[in-house]
């Protein structure tokens, strides 16, 4: 009960901080729109390249975009935490009886909520371009985005608590997220890649989320891939939360 209450209090705090800054809200809405308008039209002509998955350009591309949104959205969350660390806010919370787990969970739930809202905007805007999606596909897609958001943001909070400084955090996060993105098949399917690159890609958990999302959006592929994608993202979320929670609970020297 205490965990739920403290998580709710923290969630409200971070949602308020987000909503009270119009710049964040505008950026949050514009981001998915830019993805859609500035990149998706390029795909039209790619559909006929050999090896491009069947199912229509938008049904192949939009799921990947959502996963990219999840990855990059979650990668940026550490900056806010570092600002709070510097202001002594985290230390202040640690002296209260507030649940340590709630310190992580309240923030991460805010991150998930913003990601889900962005995802819905992107999905709705894609419909006029020719995206076709069933309710079931959308639900699975959003579940994947939520799990990625939870796992990656928890890991990023752990990194921020560990590094305590933007100048170390930014290079680390951006250096890691780029190869993760490229090797997930988000931009172009890894089926187009040479064998050695595919082998490296197989070690990337996000690849399985991308595969699962493409299966539900294009109808090509097996249900086992969907289950695998969901299971791997759930595992990522559990591992991320465990690491993040440990960092929040740890005493600070």
């Amino acid at each position: 009960m205490k965990l739920l209450r403290d998580t709710w209090l923290m969630f409200q705090r971070y949602l308020w901080i987000f909503l009270s800054n119009p710049a964040w809200v505008i950026i949050g809405v514009i981001q998915p729109v830019l993805y859609l308008l500035l990149f998706a039209p390029l795909l039209k002509s790619l559909v006929h390249v050999p090896g491009f998955p069947p199912g229509g350009a938008y049904n192949v591309f939009v799921p990947g975009l959502l996963i990219q949104l999840g990855l990059f959205g979650a990668a940026g969350v550490g900056f806010g935490l570092i600002a709070e660390l510097r202001a002594g806010v985290i230390e202040r919370f640690r002296v209260t009886p507030c649940s340590r787990f709630a310190l992580l969970l309240g923030r991460a739930l805010r991150d998930i909520l913003t990601l889900l809202i962005q995802s819905v905007i992107l999905l709705v805007l894609s419909i006029p371009f020719g995206l076709q999606a069933s309710i079931g596909a959308v639900v699975i897609m959003l579940a994947l985005v939520a799990l990625i958001g939870l796992g990656i943001s928890a890991l990023c909070y752990a990194a921020a608590l560990w590094l305590k400084d933007e100048n170390s955090y930014a290079p680390l996060v951006f250096t890691l997220s780029l190869p993760i993105l490229l090797l997930s098949g988000v931009l172009l399917p890894l089926q187009l890649a040479p064998g050695w690159l595919q082998a490296i890609g197989d070690a990337n958990p996000l690849l399985y989320a991308v595969n699962a999302s493409r299966v539900v959006f294009t109808g090509h592929g097996s249900g086992a891939d969907v289950a695998k994608g969901l299971a791997i993202m759930a595992a990522l979320a559990v591992v991320g939360v465990a690491i993040g929670a440990r960092r929040f609970a740890r005493a600070i020297a």
Binding site: I17, G88, E91, R92, F93, R94, T96, P97, A251
Partner: protein
């Protein structure tokens, strides 16, 4: 005792070395006092503060804080203490009122109760006018008052203040002293660290100095100063000093007597009681005084004597 520690220790281990940051600290802090904790940088001051405020588990020793065992019941301790770090604890993008209400809620208050308590504090800290502005618009003094308000939301018995006046202008500092005294007068015990000796001297009822992880001095500011050097009474006479010397030498209240530049310097335990005696003795012997003055050692003398360093040199 609001704080009682015995042999409190903290060891930091890294791959290369083991550092005993706090090497067995015994502290007794009475309730209802302003207790000052001084020490050069790296002396174990911050580590001790972090242990007492539950941020860092001790490696060894015992401590009871605000009536609860620090190691066995840190949650109980947390309920009874407030803590204001050097950095403050409020966030730029949040309003003062929101920070206060959230703090109260984290201690289990209902929304209505937290809002009521926040309004009380905003009023008494003279922040009501700015309550619904983001804290980044506050002046340094206003921000510090808000941070203290956050620490006081749940009516703690004991408030820890880590360098509460660092970076404040003299006017805001004086205002902060008033605030801290008011807290003490209302029954809240205050444990503070400071780099300013005049602050320790003017504000604190008792002091402890820590160096190399151990308490090297403890007492009221007056006791500490007296312990180090006693007071110095400087006596000048109209004639030669020889007669005065004869009268004053070997009196039990005079620890030491020296002569410098034609005046006598008497080292005594308590200058305010020694001066009337000196007057009476010299008067009785018919010796005329030209000057009589009392000099007191400063806390910086105490600090220098106890740690081998001047606090002013070590101030960050």
């Amino acid at each position: 005792m609001i704080i009682r520690t015995r042999g409190l220790r903290r060891v930091f281990r890294s791959r290369r070395s083991t550092v005993e940051a706090v090497a067995g600290v015994d502290l007794d802090v009475g309730a209802g006092q302003i207790f000052g904790f001084l020490g050069p940088n790296g002396a174990g001051k911050t580590t001790t503060l972090r242990m007492l405020s539950t941020l860092l588990p001790p490696t060894g020793g015992e401590a009871s804080v605000a009536g609860h065992d620090l190691r066995r019941e840190p949650d109980r301790v947390r309920q009874r203490i407030g803590y204001v770090s050097q950095e403050g604890g409020s966030y730029d993008d949040v309003t003062g009122r929101r920070e206060l209400v959230l703090q109260g809620r984290l201690y289990g208050m209902s929304r209505a109760r937290a809002e009521q308590r926040a309004a009380e504090l905003l009023e008494s800290l003279e922040l009501a006018e700015f309550a619904d502005r983001r804290t980044k618009t506050y002046s340094g003094g206003q921000r510090r008052r808000l941070d203290i308000g956050i620490g006081l939301m749940h009516l703690p018995d004991l408030l820890f203040l880590d360098e509460p006046t660092t970076g404040l202008d003299p006017q805001s500092r004086a205002r902060m002293w008033e605030e801290v005294r008011r807290l003490r007068d209302q029954g809240t015990s205050v444990f503070l660290t400071t780099h300013y000796l005049e602050e320790a001297d003017a504000l604190c009822d008792r002091l402890a100095i820590i160096d190399h992880g151990r308490i090297v001095a403890e007492g009221t500011p007056e006791e500490l100063k007296r312990e180090v050097a006693g007071d110095v009474v400087v006596v000048g006479t109209t004639g030669t000093t020889a007669a005065a010397r004869e009268v004053l030498d070997a009196r039990e209240f005079v620890r030491e007597l020296t002569e410098e530049d034609g005046v006598l310097r008497l080292y005594v335990d308590r200058g305010e009681t020694a001066m009337p005696q000196i007057l009476r003795l010299l008067d009785g012997a018919g010796i005329a005084l030209s000057t009589l003055s009392l000099h007191r050692p400063t806390l910086d003398d105490v600090f220098l004597r106890k740690t081998g360093r001047s606090l002013r040199e070590t101030a960050a």
